[in-house]
Amino acid sequence: MQTSSIKSKNQTDGQKSKTRNAGLLLFLKPYMGGLAVSACFAAISVFASLVLPVFVGKAVDCLIGAGKVDFVDLRIILVKMLIILAFGGIAQLVAGRINIKISAMAVRRLRGEAFDAVTRLPLSSVDAHSHGDLESRIIADADAVGDGLLLGFSQLFTGVLTILGTIGFLFYISPHIAPVVVLLTPMSLLVARFISDRSRKYFLEQAALRGELTAFCEEQIGGVKLLRCFGANERSKRDFAGFNERLNEISLKATFYSSLPNPSSRFVNNTIYMAVGVIGALYAIAGGITVGGLTSFLSYASGYAKPFNEITGVITEFQNAFVCAGRLFELIGAKPEQETGEGELLSVRGDIAFENVAFSYDKKVPLITDFSLAVKRGAHIAVVGPTGAGKTTLVNLLMRFYDVDSGTISVDGTDIADITRKSLRSSFGMVLQETWLREGTVFSNLTLGKADATIGEVVEAAKLTRAHDFIRRLPQGYDTPLSSDGGTLSQGEKQLLCITRIMLSLPPMLILDEATSSIDTRTEQKIQTAFHRMMQNRTTFIVAHRLSTIRNSDLILYMEHGNVLEQGTHEALLAKDGRYAALYRRSLG
């Protein structure tokens, strides 16, 4: 049986980081070559930017004083500088290009794989997870990994290289003053660290409050029409203003504290700069270093701190990217719906059999314990009963949205576990109570199951289901764009669209789960003919709330708590005068 395959909390952290690291390594592999090439170019560019001040120092030393400038040497030095400059610039461009391309490709791949995983997740996982969370993995986390991990990697590499190179040059120019810089500069790192630890607290608070605000907006912006009905817009504005006030307060702290590391570390750097300047000058007076040497030395001393600051930033981003990568790889690595058989359903007859089926969502709470039923081809089976009786569960099992715990369900004598899900599902036409429309035109919504349908076929199907009448009245008819919540369409109109969708593709078996609950009885009667034609010779399961729609079924199952308590035809069940009869009388009023 499937359990939620995206890791839940009970999984140990050890396992978690193991899958993450394995996923991360596998993911990074194709980019290793590109990263190595980019690293080489980055090294050239770092070398160029580091070596230039040395030449500046040498050039300054050529400028001894009025009338004493050594133009020959100066010219040679400057030409060398130009050459280095050209190489450095090109190397920087190439390295940047490669990095951007790799990161964009990686994000594309991550998003693609994460989406693939979503479309293959078992329904149990889709049902169990916050959709918003899964969406943000595909959208935001992928960006964080691409930018943070890959660009971060190259920044880290450049930073470390710059630090090492600078140390080398410092010692090369003056082995005596170099230790001052090397030993003192990491202090700025410590200061920055000290402050950012404190600002993190406010950042977390800000993130939490922003999350709450989003939830508030989803509810109150989603409900603008309702709020207007109740004259509550002004109150909602006041509530929001209060929220906004609190957010401002926290944001202010988070923003301010997070901006402190920069000036603080700059202060440390400036102090070091001062120390180097004074020591260097005194040293120069003693004849230990030339003025030009001191110039390039000072320029290294001020440039030396920059990569340290950057690395601190990169490390925070890294941590974030690692967390995001973990969330993504968890999704990508989630166990997909597993195919258990290769069989294809060809020319379906429609004999369906349940044999000793047991199933429950929560393994601790049994639902369906022992369900057996044989349905002959073309029969119409109605399932009725109170909420939680297991009616919709039967649909879930038939479509293999969920798999049985034990027992078998077979179609035409073949266990549905031996048939590919695609083949099984396309043999059923399903209409649910919860209508689902997607962003797109009416036409594209209707042709969801039959992409190559012509407008003629669509109109014909819509005429049969009476949907044509209202579609015709829409602003652009069949080309009217629909938003995901269907906009001004009423619940009944949405249901008619969903029925038309099935009418168009007309698979050999049907599942109608409260398919007409929002359609008025008169329209329902008018489309009966169409329904009859659709259901003729097709095995059909009907789950219904309104009993008038199922009286003519071949068999009615009355279910409660996962078990069939009564079964028979409408007349037989009325004669029996049991629970079905009571329900029927109640519904008549």
């Binding site: 001894i64 400036n270 000072l298 009245r473 995901s484």
Partner: protein
């Protein structure tokens, strides 16, 4: 840009103090090379150790002062950014809350939510960064140029040439990339929509076994996003190397020219070093600036998206002057009302009827007959295309939305409950309702028993009312409307999830209030058969009116509806 400035203006002190203090910081920083230059020219040249130490002390003082003003500037920048974005957020929210139904339908709620949350967060980060660094860089650059000018005006010309070249480059790049980033954001939304659809609609999509098609579509959109994002990144990638090359070229030229000047005795070695230091400072600032451009560009794209929302006309409806002519006895009156959602097809044609105060009107008809449209026009959710709708003698367009909410309580088809308590939900339309009033409303709505079982008025309601069944949610929604004590009550297909017995009890309880005018919209004749008058709607036309008995005798469509229910 004007949009942002308009908000910054409200915090102009913070917004000007921040860059001002940044300028001070820049000045202190710009003094450093001068001090170093004199350290070289006077201290080293004269071997004056005391002078060197004094200059060292000056450097330390500059560092200390610089840090203090910098922190002050950060504080003002944070304040300006957070407060102005906060104001913007409140304005956008208020604007959205004043959207009419038509405006909401046109924009769709999901994009509104993204814009008020993630887009505005981008904007806040962008403003803060801009005030903190965007202004620091130009100060340093300009300051460095001025300082260089005091040393040598020829050097100033050189610096100016470099800056102009770079500005042209940056401006050109921004011009190209801002639209690209806007497109990136749009394409990202496209991906998000598809991902959401495949989660929300997982059952339908899998039932049709079109996973392959969905994956292909995602790959196609993903490719589109890659193209734009990579395209923008590629353009941006010129920025850093170009800055590096340009500024270092400047250094080479500077050293070459200085050679001649020093030789001629018009420039000292220390001054050359100072000029070089200024140029390096410019380089460092420009590189920072270039990296910022990316973030600023993205934030700028977000500003555009927020501005779009503010530009939408929130309310397209007519709001007329209140005319005299109140009529106590006629609660609702439709006079030759014609309406269409678009210009082409009419949803209602030439509809006239009136409902005396204290009576019950039933409206029946099929899907798409125009029943809900009548309710929407009655509440002035839309303007009529022709004709007039009056409540108690007043044209609906002269009644404000707030007055309307007190006059007409509507129970919509689709139940929406908010996270909170039962009491909070019930008080939506009447915040001052007492507990007793709420209990009475619950009893009338047949909701008292199950609410008590859950813990009474303080019982928790989860998001969307998830911890109540469909029928229970509908009864809570009815109680919420009853708590308003409105003169008119509308049940817009609001009993569809109730079983027949509960529905009967509810309608019986409603009839006990003889003051209230009730409109019951239903697809089923059961709900309306006791109404004082029933309208039969079909295809936007009213095809009959009368009592249950009259219609049963003389209206074929009504008879069909009644028969269908049996």
């Amino acid at each position: 840009m004007k949009f942002i400035l308009q908000y910054l203006k409200e915090y102009k002190w913070y917004a000007t103090l921040a860059p001002l203090f940044k300028m001070l910081e820049a000045i202190f920083e710009l003094l450093v090379p001068l001090v170093v230059a004199s350290m070289i020219d006077k201290g080293i040249a004269n071997a004056d150790r005391g002078y060197v130490l004094r200059m060292g002390f000056v450097l330390l003082a500059l560092a200390l002062l610089g840090t203090t003003v910098s922190i002050t500037a950060q504080f003002f920048a944070a304040k300006a950014a957070v407060l102005s974005t906060g104001r913007m957020r409140a304005d956008v929210y208020d604007h959205i809350q004043s959207f009419s139904d038509a405006a909401i339908d046109q924009v769709g709620t999901s994009t509104l939510i993204t814009r008020i949350t993630s887009d505005l967060n981008q904007v806040q980060g962008g403003i803060n960064m801009a005030l903190r660094l965007f202004l620091r860089s130009p100060f340093i650059v300009a300051g460095a140029m001025v300082m260089a000018g005091t040393i040598s005006w020829k050097a100033l010309c050189l610096f100016a040439a470099i800056i102009i070249l770079l500005s042209v480059l940056v401006a050109g790049l921004m011009r190209c990339t801002v639209p690209m980033y806007r497109q990136v954001q749009r394409r990202l939304e496209g991906l998000l929509t598809l991902a959401r659809e495949n989660l929300e609609g997982a059952r339908v999509i899998r039932a049709f076994a079109i996973g392959e098609r969905e994956r292909d579509e995602f790959a196609r959109r993903n490719e589109g996003l890659f193209e734009t994002a990579y395209g923008a990144g590629r353009l941006q990638s010129y920025l850093n190397p170009a800055t590096f090359v340009l500024v270092n070229l400047g250094i080479v030229v500077l050293l070459w020219r200085s050679g001649a000047a020093v030789n001629a005795g018009t420039l000292t070695t220390g001054e050359t070093v100072a000029l070089y230091n200024y140029l390096s400072q410019i380089l460092i600032e420009l590189v920072k600036f270039a990296n910022l451009i990316v973030q600023i560009t993205r934030a700028y794209a977000s500003v555009g998206r927020v501005e779009e929302i503010m530009e939408i006309v929130a309310d397209e409806r007519r709001h007329g002057e209140r005319a005299a002519g109140a009529d106590k006895y006629t609660a609702i009156q439709f006079l030759n009302v014609t309406f269409s959602y678009n210009k082409s097809e009419k949803a209602l044609e030439e509809l006239s009827f009136s409902v005396p105060q204290g009576t019950t009107l039933g409206i029946v008809g099929g899907t798409g007959a125009g029943k809900s449209t009548i309710v929407r026009l009655l509440r002035h959710a839309y303007d009529v295309t022709a004709g007039e709708v009056r409540l108690f003698g007043l044209n609906v367009d002269s009644i404000s939305d707030e007055d309307m909410a007190r006059l007409v309580a509507n129970i919509p088809q689709h139940v929406e409950l908010f996270a909170g308590t039962v009491a909070e939900n019930l008080r939506l339309g009447n915040p001052d309702a007492s507990d007793d009033e709420l209990i009475t409303a619950l009893k009338t709505a047949q909701a008292y028993d199950f609410v008590m079982e859950k813990g009474g008025l303080p019982a928790e309601v989860r998001k969307g009312g998830a911890n109540f069944s469909g029928g229970q949610r509908q009864r809570l929604s009815i109680a919420r409307a009853l708590a308003v004590h409105s003169k008119i009550l509308i049940l817009d297909d609001a009993t569809s999830a109730l079983d027949a017995a509960t529905e009967r009890e509810l309608l019986k309880a409603l009839r006990e209030d003889t003051e209230k005018t009730v409109v019951i919209v239903s697809q089923r004749s059961n709900a309306v058969k006791n109404a004082d008058r029933i309208l039969v709607m079909d295809g936007g036309w009213c095809i009959g009116g009368g009592t249950h008995e009259e219609l049963l005798a003389g209206n074929d469509v009504y008879r069909e509806i009644v028969e269908a229910a049996q």
